[in-house]
Symmetry: C2
Subunit: 135 residues, 2 copies
DNA sequence: ATTTAGATTGTTATAATATAACATTATGTA
DNA sequence: TACATAATGTTATATTATAACAATCTAAAT
């Protein structure tokens, strides 16, 4: 079965903003994105936020909630941003999307006693990355 | 062994703000808190944010990152906000702290392949609560 | 090719969330 | 008492995000 969510044709603004985020080694914040795309004609915050909203919706990027920042999705098996997990280094702020079958299965099947039906989750691990740990 | 993290004596501002959040049936936002404590002499956003920072630090409250809102901790076994999990209803916005041994053990022991040492995590599940599900 | 509905864009203004900087006051402890 | 640390009060400002509305583009159905 084909995963459909990567198939969207992006609009001009969406493409410009996705390309920028996709090339960035770290999560990008909305106003940093704005600054970087102004030479391409995107001049207002709302233009950035609208593209970000759409890109999140179709699963091309994820929002790192604790950082108010956005990274490109590099996890072909992630289900349209419905199930996301990240590791975040508290020193260098490097963020990596976690792709781990055991974890995603565990969380997808998790049921709490309160009878809620979960349709989405977001998990953020914080710690020290390999590089920062040894410093 | 005694859990030490609930033993802090709160300062005046901290106590006022904690009491307000603790009584609230839903997560409270910073400026809503500010509005509600102005009659008690807390007049500036920074006074609120400083108390919130401290209360989060000592584990009396948690921040719901996806909502920019704060709830009191009712989970006596939670380790000073180092390991938090919440369920969030996307319709009524009810938030419940999840207290589940299996989950917390699984996450505390989770190790990803990238060699990171995790010292903290935050998990947010989204879905429909029992009430909203049947509507 | 034309129509039409829906999505996207451009624009201005403003709302909501959060922190910087600095002077002052309280608190605990040596 | 004196000292260090934490907390407070205050003004100003930075950062993140959305409201409202008119204009334009796009895809699909005539």
């Amino acid at each position: 079965m084909k995963t459909m969510h990567k198939e969207h044709t992006l609009t001009k603004n969406q493409q410009i903003i996705f390309d920028l985020i996709d090339k960035s080694p770290e999560p990008m914040k909305a106003y940093s994105i704005l600054f970087n795309v102004q030479k391409k004609g995107i001049k207002a915050p709302l233009q950035v936020y609208r593209a970000l909203d759409k890109l999140v919706e179709i699963g091309k990027i994820h929002k790192i909630e604790s950082r108010n920042a956005f990274i490109a999705c590099h996890n072909s098996s992630c289900q349209v941003s419905k199930a996301t997990a990240f590791s975040i280094c508290e020193i260098c702020e490097k963020v990596t999307e976690i792709s781990n079958d055991s974890l995603s299965k565990y969380l997808a099947n998790f049921k709490d006693k309160d009878g809620m039906k979960y349709i989405k989750y977001n998990l953020e691990f914080f710690g020290l990355c390999k590089k920062c740990k040894v410093k």
